[in-house]
């Protein structure tokens, strides 16, 4: 039997993985878990309080919003949007950022200069404004949200990874690989990528947390998925008007966002501590 890898022994990683596993199950099995149709309006029972308060309706465990929609069902279905965006946006940003970072760091010279300047110009736009502008241009919809987040956040990967690639590029084993006749492609994939992979994975899990927040921001201002798809940011926006009568309507989605982001971040932090060779090496010495 193979020993359990070091990173799986970290409590942070385990906590993060458990949270994400639960959230993923919720998203996948949403139709079976949700007590009601998330979009069904019950105008007869609007703003009912959650179960533990007086006057609750057992049909709606966490109460209803101002249109009489079930909060719990909307939260459960909202997980789908949040996780879809988190995974696809993070993977997309990682792929673009990592490819450009490896090219820039490996080849250096004018290629590096060009990519570096593009990243700098890109970074000079405030990210939330940039994503809003993109959403206005692209129109609402799940695919466009993912695209907007990718286009805003790939620079983060590119920057951080590039410096790591440069460090590895100067190692003698990369020169040795060239001497035995490795192609550039093989040198990058076999010699450099294994070294940058821990950082890549770490960055990706952190990026997922960021994507959840950006999606919530966009859907809060109604620039994300359409109003027919429940999303956490939308729920916060809807609950604003009745903040005093039904504070729980606001608290529930905020709590959901908090849990999801916490899960991604603690996973990322745990991975960083156990996988990042720079950290593990300094701790060992």
């Amino acid at each position: 039997m193979r020993p359990i890898p070091l990173w799986l022994k970290s409590g942070r990683v385990q906590t993060g993985l458990v949270i994400l596993f639960v959230l993923s199950c919720v998203a996948i099995f949403a139709p079976y878990l949700a007590p009601n149709d998330p979009n069904e309006q019950n105008l007869l029972s609007i703003l009912t309080p959650p179960l533990w308060s007086a006057g609750a309706d057992p049909m709606f465990p966490l109460g209803t919003d101002s249109l009489g929609r079930c909060i719990l069902s909307r939260l459960i279905f909202g997980t789908r949007v949040a996780l879809t965006v988190a995974f696809s946006a993070a993977i997309g940003a990682m792929v673009i950022g990592a490819i450009l970072a490896h090219i820039a760091g490996y080849f250096g010279g004018w290629v590096d200069w060009l990519i570096g300047r593009v990243v700098e110009i890109w970074l000079s736009f405030p990210p939330v404004i940039l994503s809003l502008i993109l959403m206005v241009g692209l129109g609402t919809g799940l695919r466009n949200v993912v695209l907007a987040i990718i286009l805003v956040d790939w620079t983060r990967f590119c920057r951080v990874l590039r410096s790591e690639v440069i460090v590895l590029r100067r190692r003698d084993y990369v020169a040795a690989a060239q001497l035995v006749g490795f192609s550039h492609w093989r040198t990058i994939t076999r010699e450099i990528l294994p070294g940058t992979l821990p950082l890549l994975i770490t960055l990706m899990s952190l990026e997922m947390g960021v994507a959840v927040i950006v999606e919530a921001v966009l859907s809060f201002v109604g620039m994300s998925v359409g109003s027919e798809t429940p999303a956490w940011g939308q729920m916060i926006a809807d609950a604003r008007q009745n903040i005093y009568e039904a504070p729980f309507n606001l608290i529930a989605p905020i709590f959901a966002i908090f849990i999801a982001v916490f899960g991604f971040n603690i996973l990322g932090d745990g991975l960083r501590r156990t996988l990042d060779t720079r950290l593990t090496q300094t701790e060992r010495t």
Partner: protein, 620 residues
């Protein structure tokens, strides 16, 4: 005799990690008189640095003094309160670290650090720290001290940083100085100057010095007394000259014979087998710690730890048969070979490489000639050494030869083919004919690949014989040739020692059976015993495969031992070349002369007088 400045009595340091205890230093007894220099010599892991750390009570986690006393001028450093120790450290007891660059704080200017130190040790009334700093810089022969104060460490050379650290160490007129391998990271010529400088300052202030080094020859030149450590226990203690000219402990003798000579008859190297026993083994070891590697070991050696035998005045050795030690003789020298003229594998004509600084369309580009107009040849089976200080262009030349860089001008031909252009067919041709062994084994082996995969990388590149089976078979063959156990193939580089990694490094280069190897400083930074093993391995492999080699090194004695011919490089140019014996016996160029003079002589009775500055040939 006056009171000793430092006296250790029964000093033992143990590692207390977990439930078990491992001995790190065992029963250390020595005294150091004021104004004397004690050389501490041994391989890495012998516990040399641990003594320095015990003095400052800066031991690694889990290490503690478990027995004995260490008295500084009568006060026990081990039991004294931390406050008192802080008063002593940096004032009465000063340190010079191994890595000059990491000894200084990179984000503070030299002046800021000097000021902080001078204010801490206290200035004379009415004295400004600036004047004092300049005075101290003057004493260590640092010209233009005022300009230095505003500089940051990265703007200075290693030798200059080391001088600044020496100035700081001596600023408080300490009574004890601990110099932990202060010259290991430096070039020979700078090493000579730094060592002379420490000796000069030591005489000025009458400071007692503990000089830690792995170089027995250097220690015998500078020290009054030498303590040779083996696995945490002294093997031999004695007056430097007596100890070096007639070592009584087999370990001292073996260390001496493992180091190649710089003058006189060429002799073979004594190969100390294996490695020093680790802490875990030591714990249960009954007999002499050196017995497993000792050529003179008899059965009695493995039964009980040998007591110290008195050899002469103040000269003791932990050996039961010290009279047998002179019987250890070096193997005969490798016979000098005649290289047939005309059979040239590799040649270069007026090879030049100019580097441009950072690429940017806006910045003005500067150029810098790393290699300029170098001519060289390498015959079949010939070993050619390239020597010079750092920055002389040795490594740049190596990169040009193997094709990691393309020359700006000139011509390189390899086995009858012009490979100057370094295009794809040239590179493929090079791959089968020339390979490189890299300097730093840490950086040369991908930490995420297994050894078996590293040594057969060439198969992966060509796609020939690339099945797992074939690669494992080839790896097993290669590992056998370089003397590693077959199970090493499935290990990762981090599980090997420095010497073993360097062997893997050589095996990778040999995989395609190239005609030429280029070795860039492959034995620097290794212990003399490991160095001797590797040099021996190279000679053995040459006999089997008949390759030729460009051997780059700053260590002249190693080049003298190994190479048939030698090129001396200075600032990108070859200033002298010829047969090794001729060049070393009668150097023509002043730079070669100063390089040779910087090496401590083999005979301890010979006065070591490094040429400190010959007109026009000085780096630093």
């Amino acid at each position: 005799m006056s009171n000793p400045i430092l006296a250790a009595q029964g000093l033992s340091v143990e590692s207390l990690g977990g439930k078990e205890r491992f001995p790190v230093l065992t029963d250390l007894n020595f005294t150091l008189q004021p104004g004397k220099i004690l050389g501490l010599v041994g391989e890495s892991g012998a516990g040399k640095s641990m003594i320095g750390r015990t003095i400052s009570q800066y031991l690694p986690n889990g290490f503690a003094v478990t027995q004995g006393t260490l008295k500084f001028d009568g006060e026990d450093l081990v039991t004294m309160p931390a406050g008192r120790r802080r008063q002593l450290l940096g004032r009465e007891i000063a340190f010079i670290p191994q890595e000059p660059l990491s000894g200084l704080n990179p984000v503070l200017s030299v002046g800021q650090q000097m000021k902080e130190h001078l204010l801490r040790i206290g200035l004379a009334p009415g004295e400004h720290w600036r004047e004092r700093a300049l005075k101290e810089f003057d004493a260590v022969h640092l010209p233009h001290g005022a300009g230095l104060l505003d500089k940051y460490p990265h703007q200075l050379s290693g030798g200059m940083c080391q001088r600044i650290l020496i100035a700081m160490a001596f600023a408080s007129r300490p009574r004890l100085l601990i110099a932990d391998e202060p010259t290991t990271a430096l070039d020979v010529t700078i090493q000579a100057r730094i060592v002379k400088l420490i000796a000069e300052m030591q005489k000025r202030d009458g400071t007692a010095v503990i000089f830690i080094t792995h170089d027995l020859r250097l220690a015998s030149q500078i020290s009054d007394e030498i303590m040779v450590l083996y696995a945490g226990r002294p093997a031999e203690i004695g007056p430097a000259k007596a100890l070096f000219s007639a070592p009584a402990h087999p370990y001292t003798r073996c260390l001496q014979l493992a180091n190649p000579t710089i003058t006189g008859e060429r002799r073979g190297l004594f190969i100390l087998p294996e490695r020093m026993p680790g802490l875990r083994v030591l714990k249960d070891l009954k007999g002499c710690r050196f017995a497993s590697r000792c050529p003179n070991a008899v059965e009695a050696c493995t039964l009980a730890e040998p007591p110290f035998a008195s050899i002469g005045a103040n000269h003791i050795a932990a050996c039961i048969r010290p009279e047998a030690t002179p019987d250890i003789v070096p193997p005969p020298a490798v016979a000098a070979r005649e290289i047939e003229a005309g059979k040239m594998h590799l040649s270069g004509e007026k090879v030049t490489k100019a580097y441009t600084t950072n690429w940017s369309p806006f910045a003005k580009r500067g150029t810098f000639k790393a290699v300029s107009n170098v001519d060289f040849t390498l015959g079949e089976g010939e070993f050619v050494g390239i020597v010079g200080e750092s920055g002389s262009g040795k490594s740049s030349l190596a990169r040009l030869v193997v094709g990691l860089d393309t020359p700006t001008s000139g011509k390189i031909s390899l086995a009858g083919r012009d490979v100057t252009a370094n295009n794809a067919p040239d590179r493929a041709y090079r791959r089968d004919n020339i390979q490189m062994v890299f300097q730093d084994p840490q950086s040369a082996l991908n930490p995420r690949r297994r050894i078996g995969s590293i040594v057969t990388q060439a198969n992966e590149a060509t796609g020939l014989n690339n099945s797992t089976r074939e690669r494992m078979d080839r790896a097993a063959e290669l590992l056998k040739e370089i003397g590693l156990p077959p199970d090493a193939a499935s290990r990762f580089p981090s599980q090997l020692s420095g010497g073993q990694k360097q062997r893997v490094n050589i095996a990778r280069a040999l995989c395609t059976l190239p005609k030429i190897l280029v070795a860039d400083e492959i034995v620097s930074g290794l212990d003399v015993s490991v160095q001797a093993q590797l040099l021996d391995l190279l000679l053995k492999l040459r006999d089997e495969h008949g390759f030729s080699m460009l051997f780059i090194s700053h260590d002249l004695s190693v080049v003298r031992y190994l190479c048939d011919r030698v090129l001396v490089m200075y600032r990108g140019e070859v200033v002298e070349s010829g047969r090794t014996e001729t060049v070393f016996a009668a150097p023509q160029h002043p730079y070669t002369r100063s390089l040779l003079a910087a090496v401590p002589p083999d005979d301890v009775m010979t006065e070591w007088s490094p040429v400190l500055a010959e007109a026009g040939y000085q780096i630093d």
